[in-house]
Symmetry: C2
Amino acid sequence: MIGVAREVGWVRIGELATATGTTARALRHYEQAGLISSERASNGYRVYDEQAVVRVRNIRHLLAAGLTLDDVRVFLPCLDGDVAAAPPSDQGLRVALERLAVLNQRIAAQTEARDRLEAALRRATGGRIRPAV
Amino acid sequence: MIGVAREVGWVRIGELATATGTTARALRHYEQAGLISSERASNGYRVYDEQAVVRVRNIRHLLAAGLTLDDVRVFLPCLDGDVAAAPPSDQGLRVALERLAVLNQRIAAQTEARDRLEAALRRATGGRIRPAV
DNA sequence: TTCAACCCTGCCGCCAGCGGCAAGGTCAAG
DNA sequence: CTTGACCTTGCCGCTGGCGGCAGGGTTGAA
């Protein structure tokens, strides 16, 4: 096949990887972590629909935000773009609230750290530096 | 000895640990990483001067700011006294700026993630929830 | 037919920042 | 003299997010 699947509506793992800027290895890892799923072709190859691209991109975004795979799992219902499909169950809500609190905590801690670093830099350079924000 | 060394001008590892809110284990780790050094008493015990307290606190600050041990090593010349005390090297500045940028990125991404989650929650609950911030 | 480019599972490795434990030595207090 | 609080070195373990390799199978193209 070698790279022609674009118009068929499905992709295999390699293509999904390059399309999302990751690796096949990482994608298998996400699948094992329960973040994505895949159909299988008759030969055993993983087959993804095009939604997967969005989904994986969202995952990567959250990971880049400093979330763990576990954290990301909480966002699963929202990962396919439709935010209205968010956690309907009480349990889901509770988990989501917890995660929200954790996120806020982390943001606060990192913001504090950043401010300290920035202040130190300013002192160290006599205010001669304007850090690119 | 049991806790009386305060007026002697030197401390052993346990005291340094509690004084800096870390553990002896971590301090040995920092030493092995080349971030701090120690004299040795005749019995082999590590002996630190009181400067070490400041030094370790600064190290912890930088670590809390999201730097790695490797990053911190670059700041070694500045680690005694106030961080602003010694003129930081160009390399130190560069690392700090890089780290600052990374921190800002993460904070932004996480804030975005949080906002999305919060919005989703609000929609999912019809605005009935006021997440504790 | 044979090659190269894919794909599969499974497992070990790596980095960071320590934690924890074993197996000892040291020293002051009781 | 014993206890126990402290110290030493050394090494294995853990978490997270993969990387990489071995040892296979499946295609499409030349």
